[in-house]
Point group: C2
Chain length 414, copies 2
């Protein structure tokens, strides 16, 4: 049903991985650069995001204004993101504009101006973003949860800290760019309508002579305490619970993923049913798997009123622990039906696929087609999932809460 | 390029409007029921949302549990929403499952159980949602802005008020359902892969004998004062500015829409450039047109730190007023390129199209193809937009702010 995924590794280490989607008229691309907030220096949290904010302010022969004018003229719907392991640059446009759009990104990623006269405006934008998170309590809580779940530096917030942003200099940004923006381990995912020969030539011309310098290694530190409470004047309490899980590259990943799907996915999932529909404890409750290269976690969120927070924590945690008893055939059947439908719908989005093939390459060194994903999901059985759960029951929980009062975190469960 | 849009009006007033998208394997549907929060009784704000929350808790031969199990089994990605004029029920699934999914919605919209034993859990969910908005200051400010911009009841928040939700009885929900869920003025939009003959037959069987009762009229009241400040303990200030504009059905709508596109759309837009890139005042700033049937507005948002709030308000407002001087050819060219690209990308999403054709029908009594939209955008000229702006300069502004301190709203501009 889906076409084979194509890939080419250039001598300098850059990987081009591409999925043809011939029914579309668009093409989308995702660059993953091997520099995430885990690569920020310890005293300069946010330096990678700051660098990313500066990169679009002029590159190659275009000044800042011309660059954004030309991207808009090509109709590129773009976005940038910094996570723990990568800085990502994505865009989607008409198939005919793909080459021109990639050429502009060639300048952005290799020849940015990083202009001093725009540095203070960029710093203000960084500070504004940090401040905006103060008004997003759910996000603030999840940042705290991640910091405790993962060992340093894997749980860090990409937006950094105020003091670091205030202290950052233009030289530090330029130095960060020079260290981290190289071809080795960089991945370019493309999906949609394109000509494979032409695409390889274009990417070769634009990036073939990019220097291959190897990205620096990251040293791991300890993780945080198992419970943190952030006092916040509100009637609302935001509850986060995390527990360790296997990463995407692990053979058992889909067993873990299936178990989380039964817990939280669709209206008939356990969390939605028990916490929201039956007890009306929350408006929103969900659990999601998250993966780094060598470790993973399941992150669960519930937002509720302060007076129902303790009950919500207990009911949610009860459902997490009950998962160890296994899943049932009818739950797995529904999960498979849902996923089958959603895989086919993904097949209609070039943006989603360009990001997916690039991520796959990072984790696996190859990309899975939607068909292969479908087969992996089809191959799940209650027996296989329950065997996984028996060996890896949800435990060693980390908790974060944000609200007017600290909650009681049960002792026996972590 | 795009295929003609098909439509059929059933004798009871229900309209089926459908766009074939033969390259897809999915099909999506959007029901628009002519009951929005403007139809909530004055003392029962949120009754429509409460009714919507109860509707999926069992219908036809399925109890609450069976209903969600079966929707999940069909792989339906569903959502519900209540705005001022409509309650919407949307779903996307594999083309082969469309008929079965519509049959379940036939039960939901015509034969819901509205079970008493789930009423308190539903009330709790409604209260939790209201409470969650307290922790979303940007959304809270926009609710206040809308309340002041539009005359009553068009600016009301769909989620209602706490006292009303606490006082609502199951009889009121059942009565609201009985009054408002009828075929007259109901619209079913479908997009994706389907057989038109079969779809008409299916919809006819499921909804052909639905009672045609006419929806009740809505009486208009006055609008609110022109500036409201909501005190909020934070270092952040959320600023909203609205001004009147023409509704979607107006011949000049696309002129107004083009002007807002120059103001706020893409990285090279005026607001993004002046407020974010050059001055670093905000992380987020945007303006968006909003339309009811007979009136519209442009709603502008900027979030910033308290110490830069007054400057942000003034710079943003300055850009709104400067729009009256007209737009330039290069701005319009970029807008056209962006839109061309985004129209083609929309063409790849059955969900977006099913909602668009249904909304079009409400506003125009027919649906526009993406090709027709493309021609309308192509037909825009600086001359036509500037003539519109000369006649309708942004003015009569309404303001809402949320943050630690009230701002000074210039006198001369409204």
């Amino acid at each position: 049903m889906t076409e084979p995924i194509l890939s080419h590794t250039f001598p300098n280490g850059l990987v081009l991985v591409a999925e043809p989607m011939r029914s579309l008229q668009s093409a989308a691309f995702t660059f993953l650069l091997p520099t995430g907030c885990a690569h920020d220096p310890a005293h300069r949290g946010g330096l990678g995001s700051f660098t990313c904010e500066m990169l679009l302010r002029g590159a190659g022969t275009r000044d800042s204004r011309r660059l954004v004018l030309d991207l808009d003229k090509l109709g590129v719907e773009r976005s940038e993101s910094v996570n723990h392991i990568h800085t990502g640059f994505s865009g989607a446009t008409l198939a005919a504009n793909l080459g021109e759009a990639l050429a502009i990104y060639g300048d952005i990623l290799r020849r940015p101006h990083l202009p001093e006269e725009q540095f203070e405006a960029a710093r203000q934008v960084m500070l504004q973003e940090l401040q905006a998170i103060e008004d997003e309590p759910a996000q603030k809580m999840m940042v705290a949860l991640r910091l405790r779940h993962y060992p340093e530096p894997w749980g860090r917030p990409s937006q950094g800290e105020r003091e670091a942003i205030l202290a950052t200099t233009i030289e530090e940004v330029r130095d960060h760019f020079a260290r981290h923006y190289h071809a080795q381990d960089a991945i370019l995912g493309v999906a949609g309508r394109f000509d494979w020969e032409l695409l390889q030539d274009t990417v070769g011309e634009l990036f073939g002579d990019w220097s291959p310098r190897k990205p620096p290694e990251v040293a791991e530190g300890p993780s945080g305490p198992r419970y943190v409470h952030l006092p916040y004047a509100s009637n609302q309490t935001h509850i986060g619970i995390a527990y360790p899980s296997v990463p995407y590259r692990d053979d058992d990943y889909f067993q873990a993923w299936g178990a989380v799907g039964v817990l939280s996915g669709g209206m008939s999932s356990r969390l939605f049913t028990e916490v929201r529909e039956r007890r009306g404890l929350c408006y929103t409750v969900h659990a999601m798997p998250h993966t780094l290269r060598d470790r993973g976690g399941v992150f669960c969120y519930a937002g509720t009123t302060a007076d129902r927070a303790q009950e919500t924590l207990e009911v949610t945690l009860g459902e997490l622990c009950r998962l160890a008893e296994g899943v049932e055939a009818h739950e797995l059947d529904r999960l498979k039906a849902r996923i089958k439908s959603s895989l086919i719908m993904q097949q209609e989005s070039s943006s989603a696929r360009s990001a997916a093939v690039a991520r796959d390459w990072y984790h696996l060194g190859r990309a899975r087609t939607l068909e292969e994903l479908g087969q992996l999901v089809d191959g799940l059985t209650c027996r296989s999932i329950n065997a996984y759960l028996a060996e890896h029951p949800p435990r060693d929980f980390t908790f974060a809460t944000l609200g007017p009062e600290e909650l009681e975190v049960p002792d026996g469960v972590s």
